[in-house]
């Protein structure tokens, strides 16, 4: 062989060659022995080709600008590159450019069609609404619009009932 295959993760000669078919697409990974060991390829219980593909596909320069940090947890594209994991839920928005091209290879589709945490979402909607009403109530009191204030107060108690929150006043 004129030029031996190089490891996808470092530049050593690749001696471990993996092929797996995910969603009718053929994925090939070439690794040197130490990377194969490090990634757990030799340990079938802990090995996931999907994980590895994710890291390998990250290895060429990430498409997101390198200065991009997650506002919530401070994660950088480099951190993601190294661990293959995100830092917090917010990272999914921060690094959406990085993630999108990967999802196609990784999953059957790119949109969630399964279970929805309905109670949690309902609760969140009510809490957001409550928060907004409380701000409006404060504003109304400050600017002495007492008729509006009374209206907001009624609405607040209705939303509290719906959310099952007892007034803390």
């Amino acid at each position: 062989m004129a030029s031996p295959l190089k490891c996808d993760l470092c530049s050593n000669q690749a001696t471990v060659h993996l092929t797996q078919i995910v969603n009718h697409k053929v994925h090939k990974v070439d690794l040197c022995e130490s990377c194969a060991q490090a990634k757990g390829v030799t340990d079938p219980s802990g090995f996931s080709l999907a994980d590895l593909l994710l890291k390998a596909s990250l290895n060429p320069e990430p498409s997101a600008p390198s200065g991009l940090n997650c506002k919530q947890c401070g994660y950088t594209p480099d951190d993601f590159k190294k661990s293959g994991r995100f830092g917090c839920p917010q990272c999914y928005e921060t690094f959406s450019n990085l993630l999108e091209p990967m999802l196609n290879n990784m999953h059957k589709g790119t949109a969630h069609t399964g279970k929805i945490p309905e109670r949690a979402l309902e609760r969140k909607t009510l809490h957001d609404r409550l928060h907004k009403l409380e701000t409006e109530l404060d504003d109304a009191i400050k600017s002495e619009r007492y008729e509006d204030a009374a209206k907001f107060r009624d609405e607040i108690s209705q939303v509290r009932d719906a959310a099952g929150i007892t007034p803390t006043l």
């Binding site: 219980s45 293959g84 994991r85 830092g87 999953h107 589709g109 790119t110 399964g114 949690a120």
Partner: protein, 364 residues
């Protein structure tokens, strides 16, 4: 009576209590869901204070749910290495959790078939185990538990991407469903590679039971879904169900063919395995797995009474290194001491077995 780690590990596990299994080829079914709290860093990123905060929020919610109200809460850092190893061998906690930093815990129910790991790779890993082939029942149980938790917890969820997980490979449903399958005839017939390839093409993954080499010891394989996004939970479960059903059919066909084409091969293998288990004095764990696997196949084809299968399934777990050490009552064992103790235990168990009857083997 309060549940303690020692009472938990000295009682038989769900997998080992496999009475009247509806399908002998499937040893155990398992489903797990990965869930995270909104507005908190994932455990790998969180500092100690945040991990602690997440632990408190989650354990409070978990201990309120019906299946885990009387469950045992174990903080990983309070477990000794042996207890950790045993819980891993029982599939009650993952290897990753057993090696994790402070702030990690698991809540395990009395029947040892529901467990919730806190601060593993994700804030919550909810798991339901069922003996035999009970994928749909396991889904119903875990779905209800998840809905109960959601009453208390604000999950990280995106309308487009579903449940948000630390690793994007779990994104969407966060669901991994798997079955432990006993496929000795497919291994003997050299067809496993073909099966693995076919299963991969259907988007499912094949792994060994305890990760001891891809030629899974004991011919036990774990088959699970590979992808979690783009398909509903029901679709994933149904698709896996039909893949598993067809593997069961192939295994049963391979057994029938083996008995027909080489009538002496199987009785010979089973008989030799029975001989070593009954009379051996040094047996490693992977040898034990392979021998037990053959005797289990012997039960399936009628050489031994059906009732012996429960014993073998229990021994699959009890022959693991952690369980041998636990049984010895010692703090440490060299591997040759362990192999002798394992053989001693197996000899006394197999002394109680009936003599194999090889006459006209019938399937099932």
């Amino acid at each position: 009576m309060s549940l303690t780690v020692d009472s938990l590990i000295s009682s038989p596990a769900e997998l080992t209590d496999n009475r009247a299994s509806n399908c002998a080829v499937v040893l155990m079914t398992r489903i797990r869901l990965a869930r995270n709290l909104a507005n908190h860093s994932f455990p790998g990123r969180a500092n100690e204070a945040e991990r602690q905060e997440v632990l408190e929020i989650c354990q409070g919610a978990v201990l309120k749910t019906r299946p885990l109200k009387r469950g045992l809460l174990v903080a990983v850092k309070e477990l000794n290495p042996l207890q950790r190893q045993i819980l891993v061998e029982r599939h009650l906690i993952s290897r990753e959790l057993s090696e994790s930093k402070s702030g990690s815990a698991a809540v395990i129910n009395k029947d040892r078939n529901v467990s919730v790991m806190i601060n593993e790779e994700d804030h919550l890993r909810i798991q339901v185990l069922r003996n035999g082939f009970q994928l749909k029942k396991a889904w119903t149980t875990i779905n209800n538990l998840d809905s109960a938790l959601e009453k208390e917890l604000d999950y990280a969820f995106s309308a487009e991407l579903g449940y948000l997980t630390a690793c994007p490979t779990n994104l969407g449903t966060g669901l991994r469903a798997s079955a432990m399958m006993h496929l000795p005839a497919l291994v003997i017939a050299g067809q496993m590679e073909k099966v693995v390839r076919a299963v991969n093409q259907l988007g499912m993954v094949v792994r060994g039971l305890f990760g001891e080499g891809s030629d899974a010891s004991g011919s036990i394989f774990q088959i699970s879904n590979q992808t979690t996004l783009g398909e509903s939970e029901k679709d994933i479960v149904n698709r896996l169900q039909s893949v598993l059903e067809s593997i069961v059919e192939h295994e049963l066909n391979a057994r029938a063919k083996l008995l027909e084409d080489e009538p002496a091969k199987l009785p010979d293998k089973v008989g030799r395995a029975f001989g070593i288990l009954s009379h051996g004095h040094v047996i490693s764990s992977s040898e034990a797995m392979n021998l037990l696997s053959l005797v289990r196949l012997g039960v399936d084809v009628g050489y031994f009474p059906e009732s012996h299968r429960v014993t073998i399934d229990r021994l699959f777990i009890e022959a693991q290194p952690g369980h041998i050490l636990f049984g010895s009552g010692k703090a440490e064992l060299k591997s040759d001491e362990r192999d002798r103790l394992r053989a001693d235990g197996l000899r006394s168990e197999f002394a109680k077995f009936s003599t194999p009857g090889y006459q006209s083997p019938g399937l099932n």
